[in-house]
Amino acid sequence: MVYKISIVIPGTDHGGAIINTSEMPKVGDRLKVGDLEVEVVEVMDLMPPRGDFHFMHATCKLVEPKGSG
């Protein structure tokens, strides 16, 4: 299966990302978006699956780099 995921990071001016993964995202997972690391806080289906593809949406929050703040 291929999980095509729309990633949105509310509260930031980042446009989010669209990536493919081989595993279904779940709350608490950490994903890389370029140089950023984000944590999944909500997952939902965005469109019905087609063939081997699932089309998902994940709302995420930024993971602060260690040592920041």
Binding site: V8, P10, G15, V33, G34, L46, M47, G51, H57
Partner: protein, 144 residues
């Protein structure tokens, strides 16, 4: 990874048989970009579809201080599909945010393939419509 196997992980080619994917693969030209390189520039003519096979690109709309990033696209995503569908100028500037490997498909060559094999054209253009829909839904969700 073999190109046909790679194309199987791209939603735009979902539903094509191995033989059909082989015909698409024969149109693909490999191109490598460094982080910071621009693949397409907004407003310029565009005649190619790009399949991101490794790395990540950032899609920007606007120029100078008004430029804004609308989405990052990772492995398995396509860029340049609007120019493929409507033949218009590039709608966005696409910049690599990591070293990136893409496969490039020329519009004319792809249209010739679709003319020769309508099944490939039907499947890919249906998938391209779904891909544009997915991106539109993503855009809506960023504005929630």
């Amino acid at each position: 990874m073999e190109l046909v196997s790679l194309l199987k992980s791209v939603a735009v080619f979902e539903g094509l048989s191995d033989a059909e994917l082989e015909r698409v693969a024969r149109l693909c030209r490999e191109a490598r970009y460094r982080k910071g390189d621009v693949i397409t520039a907004q407003g310029e003519p565009g005649h190619e579809l790009f399949v991101v096979c490794d790395g990540m690109v950032e899609v920007n709309i606007g120029a100078g201080g008004a430029a804004r990033s609308v989405v990052n696209l990772g492995t398995g995503q396509v860029v340049g599909e609007m120019a493929l569908v409507d033949g218009g100028p590039r709608s966005a500037t696409v910049r690599c945010v990591a070293d990136t490997l893409v496969y490039v498909i020329e519009r004319d060559a792809f249209e010739r393939l679709c003319d020769a094999d309508h099944q490939i054209g039907l499947v890919v253009y249906r998938n391209l419509a779904a891909d544009l829909s997915f991106k539109l839904r993503h855009e809506h969700l960023t504005r929630r």
